[in-house]
């Protein structure tokens, strides 16, 4: 998570300038396509809603011409499906400033036990943020992913037996769960 699209140097949460809050994903296109990421993106926000501020606007920040074309194509498809104007913008990527540590992996930070396990695995904050295991567990704690998906992946997260049991119990107890990204 971080800040993108503005001109202010060294933005921070309390001094954001003209930047927008964004998520930045490093992915292997051999495992998940940009089209699939766009599909998840369009179904993870309300593209017909106007934003109240630049901080919280909806946008795709394309990194190259192929991404720009695919983003525009998917936006046109979404407009045809919704039969309404799309407020989500397609903008050129101009840089990314990572947000402060306390803004990263929000749901995981609320779970002391699981957070402690990952902090022990990744004492370096940059490695913690870059971890796929951390991202997956944060997603499950945030209501994404099914028990079936979790069961397939759980052993790959490096958690203790207690941690695995805890995560399974949390997922089992929660109600409606949204689909997670396919395993990377």
């Amino acid at each position: 998570m971080g800040y993108t699209g503005g001109t202010k140097k060294n933005p921070s949460y309390h001094n954001l300038g003209d930047h927008t809050e964004t998520i930045q994903i490093e992915y292997d296109p051999e495992r998940i396509s940009y089209e699939k990421l766009l599909d998840i993106f369009w179904h993870s926000h309300s593209p017909e809603s106007s934003s109240w501020s630049r901080q919280y606007m909806s946008a795709v920040f394309f990194h190259n011409e192929e991404q720009r074309w695919l983003a525009m194509e998917s936006k046109n498809g979404m407009a045809a499906t919704l039969k309404t104007g799309i407020q989500t913008q397609i903008l050129s990527y101009t840089g990314f400033t990572p947000a402060e540590d306390y803004h990263q992996k929000f749901h995981l930070r609320d779970d002391h036990a699981l957070m402690e396990e990952f902090k022990h695995m990744y004492p370096d904050a940059r490695e913690f943020v870059a971890s796929t295991a951390v991202a997956r567990v944060n997603g499950y704690l945030g209501g994404y992913g099914t028990m079936e998906q979790l069961t397939k992946e759980l052993e790959s997260y490096g958690l203790s037996d207690e941690g695995k049991t805890r995560l399974r119990e949390i997922v089992a107890k929660s109600g409606h769960r949204r689909e997670a990204c396919p395993i990377p």
Partner: protein, 33 residues
């Protein structure tokens, strides 16, 4: 669960999922409102 002092479940390893070597890495950036 107490993962702190005295726990026998401390891990110093890298999670298996994080050992996966990507064939190629690309970057995507989204703002979700």
């Amino acid at each position: 669960m107490n993962i702190g002092k005295g726990s026998s479940v401390l891990h110093t390893h890298i999670p298996p999922i994080d050992k996966t070597v990507p064939v190629k890495v690309e970057t995507a950036t989204f703002a979700l409102g």
